[in-house]
């Protein structure tokens, strides 16, 4: 279990570095998708089955797809060269964020020297007995009873996000020959009929 966590965690950090340092947005997005899949595996290790799948469904399947649609719509091929990080910045970031945890883990497992002392251990094996309900049902017990207000507020937040996104993006005028009924009904006769000459 610890080995799996270490490997998946290392992969996650490497993918996150690729997201940050890549100069092609599509590559960065695919790395972000892969890092969310790695994070989903980590959450499965923490017995968060519903959340792990919700991460794939919601984050990868909706949010990242939305990002990809944006990148495709705006046709962004690559970031400009002047805005890319210098090589030394890239190397430093990767070495620091991947190297330091590896070194600390190495100290812990090979030399027995832990930087933070003895900390409690996760994933106690005695917890894995037959549970009365599934993880989804247990989250539902909390979400709809104790955190019902938070849940409803989150729904309102989502509704607000929909309204905001649509109102920001919609264009004012429809192109083409479609009728605008409200304009037709607001027509004034004075704008349509002009008196040219009185017949006496």
């Amino acid at each position: 279990m610890s080995l799996l966590f270490t490997m998946v965690g290392g992969v996650l950090l490497l993918l996150a570095n690729h997201v940050v340092l890549s100069s092609y947005p599509v590559h960065a997005l695919v790395s972000l998708v892969a890092s969310f899949v790695a994070m989903s595996v980590l959450w499965l290790l923490f017995d968060a089955e519903f959340l792990a799948l919700a991460l794939i469904f919601v984050y990868v399947g909706a949010v990242m797809t939305l990002f990809l649609f944006m990148v495709m719509m705006l046709n962004i091929q690559s970031y400009p060269k002047s805005s890319q990080a210098r090589p030394w910045v890239m190397v430093t970031l990767v070495c620091f964020t991947v190297g330091v945890p590896v070194v600390m883990l190495g100290f812990k497992y090979f030399a027995g020297v832990s930087y933070w002392g003895d900390w409690p251990v996760l994933l106690k094996a005695s917890d894995q007995v037959s549970l009365p309900m599934t993880n989804t049902e247990a989250i539902a017990q909390l979400l709809y009873k104790k955190y019902a207000i938070a849940f409803i507020t989150m729904g309102l937040l989502l509704l607000t996000a929909i309204v905001v996104a649509v109102s920001l993006v919609k264009r004012e005028r429809r192109a083409g020959k479609a009728q605008r009924i409200s304009e037709q009904l607001q027509v004034n006769p004075k704008d349509r009929v002009r008196l040219v000459q009185e017949i006496t």
Binding site: A48, L122, L158
Partner: protein, 100 residues
């Protein structure tokens, strides 16, 4: 697997995301991706705590974090579309033109 290793993972993920946000301030899409990474790191922290204390509140909070991250990215992408329509660029420096 000790608790601190999970914190360390969440910390270093957050560091990557934070440094990435600084490096990617010029382009909006890269910046938004770093914000997503930051949300994911905090959700990992919540889930780890939930597992340690055998309490599902952390998982509920992680779920709510996920949905607020989705809201935030939807609105941010809508703003990106408006920016692109106005300036045909995803460079954030064009926003300096609307100063004053």
């Amino acid at each position: 697997m000790a608790m601190m290793e999970v914190f360390g993972l969440s910390l270093f993920l957050g560091v990557v995301a934070g440094v990435g946000a600084v490096l990617n301030t010029r382009n909006v899409i890269g910046f938004l991706m770093c914000i997503e990474l930051l949300f994911a790191a905090s959700a990992l922290n919540f889930v780890a705590f939930s597992n340690y204390y055998d309490h599902l509140d952390g998982q509920v909070m992680a779920l709510l974090t996920l949905s607020s991250a989705a809201c935030e990215s939807a609105v941010a992408l809508a703003v990106l579309i408006v920016l692109y329509r106005g300036y045909s660029s995803i460079d954030t420096r064009v926003l300096q033109q609307i100063k004053g």
